[in-house]
């Protein structure tokens, strides 16, 4: 069968909402797009452990500590599910990690911002996880089977994450004046980076076209961003915090909130590696990986010895 016929059949399956499975024929570009998107998603989960991990040892109550720890652990798990999904596309986790560490692969820029106060644990959970959830809910319907299954599992587990963050924000917003100031400050610092998590405007997004046609992405960057903003404004009002956007207002005609323009210079600066924590995050990852090398070697050597013993026996 020539490729154009295969491509036609492939598109027909996509249009009929039939999932693509690892052994099915798929266009090379579809595969490449998935490898990039899923691994980027996996790297984000794993690198995302660092800014929150920064506060585990200082969590202000034992309950807060176990909740935060459980949440970060989930993120490690989600990274693992996603690497698994990405591995079904014929590339090993070693290779994906190598791409992350060499800078070839990206992860979400949001994690290149520092977490400076406990309120940042609130802001990260509420806004960053909130934004991620909007995206992930949409991705449950993605066309690639393993990715879709990973997203379903992840969404199920993520349901407490945003609540955990919002609860911290709510508690601090009605706490002492210092706490309230910390909460507002965290919102100020994390708002814009959070809404930039959805990526460039559709008009400037080179990857959107095929991704939507192939139903890898089910909704565009701007659609998802709008969804997130629409639901978050009310949540901020309820706890008495102010979203740092003077242009934010309800647009009756559109049935959505209008909002101000994001700072795209900052966006691209951070994407290109010059955010406040880019180097720190990657170095942390590399260092942990290197420090673990002798452990992994030992485990492999042990397994080999055991196999050899079995053969003799």
């Amino acid at each position: 069968m020539e490729d154009s016929k295969k491509l036609e059949e492939f598109q027909a399956k996509i249009d009929a909402e039939i999932k693509i499975e690892p052994k099915d024929w798929m266009p090379e570009d579809y595969k490449k797009h998935l490898q990039r998107q899923i691994s980027q998603h996996a790297h984000s989960e794993v690198i995302g452990m660092q800014p929150e991990g920064n506060w585990i040892s200082r969590a202000p109550s034992l309950r807060a500590k176990v909740v935060l720890l459980a949440k970060i652990q989930d993120e490690a798990g989600h990274g693992q599910y996603l690497y698994s999904a990405a591995e079904t596309l014929g590339k090993s986790r070693d290779e994906y990690i190598e791409e992350l560490q060499s800078g070839k692969a990206k992860y979400s820029s949001i994690f290149n911002y520092p977490t400076l106060t406990w309120a940042d644990m609130g802001a990260v959970g509420w806004l960053v996880d909130g934004a991620a959830i909007v995206n992930q809910v949409s991705l449950q319907r993605t066309s690639y089977g393993p990715y879709s299954r990973a997203m379903v599992r992840i969404c199920k587990e993520e349901s407490f994450h945003q609540r955990q963050g919002y609860e911290i924000m709510a508690t601090m917003a009605k706490g002492t004046p210092e706490q309230k100031a910390m909460a507002q400050d965290a919102l100020n610092r994390f708002w814009w980076p959070s809404i930039m998590m959805f990526g460039p405007h559709d008009s400037d997004s080179p990857n959107t076209g095929n991704a939507v046609k192939w139903k890898i992405k089910r909704e565009t960057n701007d659609e998802l961003r709008q969804k997130f903003i629409d639901k978050t404004v009310q949540q901020a009002e309820v706890i008495g915090l102010t979203i740092p956007d003077p242009d934010l207002k309800w647009n009756e005609a559109r049935g959505h909130y209008d909002f101000g323009e994001m700072d795209w210079d900052e966006f691209w600066r951070v994407v290109k590696g010059n955010g406040p924590c880019n180097k720190q995050r990657l170095n942390h990852h590399k260092k942990a990986h290197q420090k673990g090398a002798w452990v992994r070697e030992a485990a492999i050597a042990y397994a080999k010895k055991q196999k050899a013993k079995q053969l003799v026996a």
């Binding site: 693992q80 986790r93 190598e98 299954r149 990973a150 485990a299 397994a303």
Partner: protein, 97 residues
């Protein structure tokens, strides 16, 4: 050793969520030996009381049919409608059959 060293082999994980139910595929883990695979599966996939039994199977031990097999494997059962109970006409009034 190059920059990319070994993360261990891939093991597929199957969980039985309740006694009496079949084991269902949950995902995979990396591990270098059986015990590690089992422990990793436990830590990874049963954090929310999801299971009563776990299987881990080395990926290379799984044999999968290929999409090209589909016509010859699965379509021939299309016309064997007599394998389904609805194929049979039961007299009116017959019960428990």
């Amino acid at each position: 050793m190059s920059n990319t060293d070994n993360q261990g082999g891939v093991w597929e994980v199957f969980i039985q969520s309740k006694p009496g139910l079949p084991h269902k595929h949950a995902g995979s883990v990396h591990a270098t030996d059986k015990e590690m695979a089992l422990q990793n599966a436990r830590d990874m996939y049963t954090r929310r009381q999801e299971g009563t039994c776990l299987w881990v199977v080395p990926l290379e031990a799984i044999v999968s049919s290929m999409p090209d097999d589909n016509d010859s494997f699965f379509d021939p059962s299309d016309d064997k409608i007599y394998r389904h109970p609805t194929h049979y006409v039961m007299p009116d009034g017959a019960k428990h059959i």
